[in-house]
Symmetry: C3
Subunit: 446 residues, 3 copies
């Protein structure tokens, strides 16, 4: 396992704390796939990185879909016969069925019951429910709360609006040497849920900060979007740009302490798939690699058959596989600053690896070059059968025929990419390697 | 495991009984690769399905072979010195070396011995022996019988003829929408052996009955032929038709209670190979898949290098791997009506799967279509991470790019073909899928 | 396991003894990458086989390298204050740092120490050290010897010369029916080390003797060269010949009793790789197959990216993996006559297999030919499910479509190549096979 220098580890600790503070700031906001909660979230991100906020008007057709009316909510509660608020949206944004139509009425417990959602298996937790495309209203509450409700008449108020407006999303394009892009996409439409959405926002934002500070070969595009309809809207509006996307990752559920899980792109053997698998296997004790599945976050849209983009998703515990998922228990305690820090570090390493993964041409391809006269080789023979890092140099020389990327070489040699990259750097400095023309690069298919 | 509805199971039980009765009817007949026993068998099949009986004259050259003289036998026995029949062909057709030349003579026990065949390891069983291409005569008897024979003179009679005539075979062509054919071939040349030949005849005949009763995409060709020389004769006489055969199965040994065994075609990854493997793995507890071997039944001829047809063989316990094989113990007790019924069901499921295995084109290939507005999706979000059968729909949509058949999709999704087929049906009804042009279909090679 | 007939085993024993005697004769000579020790070695080989000895002048550029000055040594010793020789080159050629520059001086123990090399972990053994490309001098001695040296002044003499001369190598070209070549290369530059260099020389020489005595399809080229610089010099001088090399093996470390180890060529699936793996797995109890590594003996040069020759290396225990490696313990006791004999036998079998590995065309590709009428088949049917060697014939017939070599057939059939070769021979004699045109031969890539 490559180890992180101590000063970097300290810095990472500070960044982990900063990410957790940002999550804390966003936590109370009632986000949805449209509306002011989402807009406010994007503006808070905009304070940190130069995000552009786009608005797509309600009614805009986006492929098979239509941008829905904008939803906004001021308040919502249930009052019992004695005028006590037994469920109160002001306490947590989860209490209201997301996208509830407005309602103000009185009804019996019996009439109210079909509009109440709870989790009998986790009686302390409040579930998260939505109804974006079927007009409905409802309240989510803990099962304990539900069981305390007595028969009688209740006043029910959802002070919401569902009116023409727009869908908001944030975009940050960081120009690199090449127009070839790496896409980083996170959903930003969930209300008070920390791992599922806020962790992804925080890690993406700090990854963008990092990339903004350095010279980069690739261009990067960050999208902070409402799930599904947001990526559909972006893709529908940017078809000419889509071929530029060479690699991409959907960021979500990166704040819990679970092990890293990578879900491959539809292609299954794209460079991004191989790079993430390689980096995970060489830098973490435990990780899991999964095949593509047409279910999950926005990779579903990026990997639809007409686009088939090389976009995978790197999470820690995947959605739906931790009990706190889509409940009030996905809270500020559930996401850890260390986990956020580690996740950011992993994304940085993946970007560094993509940046460095080039193909080279051995300038002395006939027999080995004489490394000794260039100071790249031990000078006394016979003393060891251990080639040490010379082996990485020999692998790079042997396979730098324009058909193998450094990742191809690392995989064949069974070495960590960083070791091979360092060898290539030394050989380039000695004039023994040149860049391979891009068209000769391996397509990285095994 | 998909389960069979109860009414179908009852029907299958009845069909199993009917097949066993048909086996019982054919059992006593002395079949061979030519002659009246074979002809009588074909006529009994003809009573059930509209079989055409063909006759290929003796002496006809068929590739490297020549149709032999026709063999017919009326009687055969060995009488001891006291005139008692110690071996009697009337008791079982196995008693005579199949294709024995006529003989009527007296000889000592010593002279007779080289003409007698028994099984010391199974002293109660009579072996089955043939000598089609080397003129010879002989008797098969139980080892117990052999040991009871005393020294002395014996009268030996084989009342057979070996004269110019013809080789008979039965053929049933069932026309479908397409000229593309599925071949179903079974050998019908063994005398009183139940699993080895009669079970295959019965299952093929009932499969033909079933196919005759329904509209089919493929055409089907059923061959009831003597082993080796029969398939050679058919292939030699029908070269222009051979390219129409897209898939095929050789049916044999399908009446014992052993587990299903599929032997792949020479190609090894033909559609038939993948379909049978998939169906077996999803519908039986235990099964075995074997690679092609140029030894066995008529798949040897169909898979010879100039034809290389996509023909495999689906049996239960393979030939030579049950002790009763080629002995009198392969009798009416050895084949079970339930086994015959299950085998027929398996062949039906395979044909259904081949019929349904098409490629489709997603009509909304850019992002996912909105399933909810078409009534194909749950309407409330957030309540479950379990996509249930929606997942099959998402897989079909994701991979229906004209390059994947439904079987490709089922295999990648890890779902049973029937589940994927049902999803495709629902999506087609909603206008979300169209047939892919045939030339774009996957060649089904992994 | 195929067994070796007794008379061949006896002959092999005699040849093993002869090889060990030859190793014994070469043992005392102080070889290096240039000089009279190497030259004398080649002349001794020349007495046995018609070797051509080539001289490449010092200063000749060979790709990225230059032929160094020639090194010769007459004597070397260290004398203590009492005039006693405490280290004496006359006792073993290992005592001097190979390629030591001349020196004649007196110095204190303290000054001398950095020039002394020993092995603390093996206090009885003398290490082997070289300094070909960095001018230096030194002595190698046992650690025990080193510890007995007392403080005081020592006289140090290396009576060597490093002057323009030439690099010598031996070459034997054995012409075959085809210009396609099999390369057999062994390094011959190590001083008194038996397994590491002398075993390879002996086995190569006796393999050449064997090949000279028989008619061969391939041409063979044997190289007896100094390691690295020798193969680089040969390749630099013979570029037009390189494409003729179809297969090759680097011979080294073939005298110890360890198990056979094959290191694949860079291609990884070349015919030589498949043949050696097949032969090892079918003829030895234990063996190891390793992937290519750009470290080792001269395969590093043959497999450099511009040449990428199908050259692997067959050793017993690989270099650096036996403790005696590069020490005085790699001596005449360490190499065994039986091991040398077995190694020679393995190389012979590999050459025989390459020679026999052709593709054929089935002359009756439509259905099986009638083997019985050609005496190639048992005549009575029904008596066995065991096809015995008929199965090899059926495999050869089934796959002899011009796309499969006999090795392809052996691997698919799971049979030893020799069995398949015998079947092909029988079928050819019966007129059932013809040679496939060379251009139709499989490229042997899986």
């Amino acid at each position: 396992m490559p180890t992180i220098p101590q000063h970097e580890e300290q810095e990472l600790g500070l960044v982990g704390e900063a990410m957790h503070r940002f999550v804390t700031e966003l936590y109370p906001i009632c986000r949805s796939i449209t509306g002011n909660g989402l807009r406010k979230t994007l503006r808070l991100i905009q304070k940190e990185i130069p995000l552009t906020i786009h608005e797509v008007p309600s009614g805009t057709p986006v492929f098979d879909w239509t941008i829905p009316n904008e939803w906004n909510i001021r308040d919502a509660y249930i009052k019992d016969g004695k005028g006590r608020k037994v469920v109160d949206f002001q306490q947590t944004s989860l209490h209201v069925l997301n996208y509830s139509v407005p309602v103000h009425t009185r009804m019996s417990m019996e009439e109210l019951t079909p509009h109440l959602f709870s989790l009998p298996d986790h009686p302390e937790w409040i579930p998260y429910r939505t109804s974006y495309y079927k007009p409905s209203w409802g309240f989510c509450l803990s099962h304990k709360q539900l069981q305390e409700l007595e028969p009688g008449e209740y006043e029910v108020v959802v002070d919401s609006t569902l009116e023409p407006g727009s869908l908001s999303y944030g975009e940050l394009y960081i120009e690199g040497e090449s127009q070839d892009e790496i896409l980083v996409s996170c959903h930003s439409c969930h209300p008070s849920l920390c791992n599922d959405n806020l962790s992804g926002i925080a890690v993406s934002m700090y990854l963008a900060k990092h990339l903004l500070s350095m010279k980069r070969r690739y261009s990067y595009r960050f999208l902070f979007i409402p799930g599904a309809i947001g990526s559909i809207a972006w893709l529908a509006g940017h078809e000419p740009l889509i071929p530029r996307i060479k690699h991409g990752l959907v960021v979500a559920c990166v704040g819990d302490p679970g092990r890293f899980t990578y879900k491959k792109s539809r292609r299954g053997n794209a460079e991004i798939d191989r790079v993430v698998e390689h980096v995970l296997k060489h830098t973490t004790e435990k990780c899991e690699i999964r095949e593509f599945l047409p279910y999950g976050y926005d990779e579903r849209q990026y990997c639809s058959p007409a686009f088939d983009l090389a976009v995978g998703s790197l999470t820690r515990t995947p959605h739906g596989e931790f009990p706190e998922y889509h409940t009030s228990a996905d809270n500020l305690d559930f996401v850890k600053k260390d986990s956020l820090g580690e996740s950011l570090q992993m994304y940085k390493t993946i970007c560094d690896t993509l940046e460095a993964n080039r193909s080279y041409l051995n300038q002395n391809p006939k027999c080995e070059p004489q490394l000794g006269k260039r100071g790249l080789y031990r000078t006394m023979g016979g003393d060891s059968a251990q080639p040490l890092n010379e082996l990485a140099m020999l692998w790079v020389l042997n396979l730098s025929d324009g058909k193998h990327s450094l990742m191809d070489i690392a995989e064949r040699a069974g070495l960590y990419f960083g070791v091979v990259e360092a060898a290539a750097k030394a050989l380039r400095s000695a004039g023994l390697l040149s860049h391979a023309p891009e068209q000769q690069r391996s397509n990285l298919v095994h």
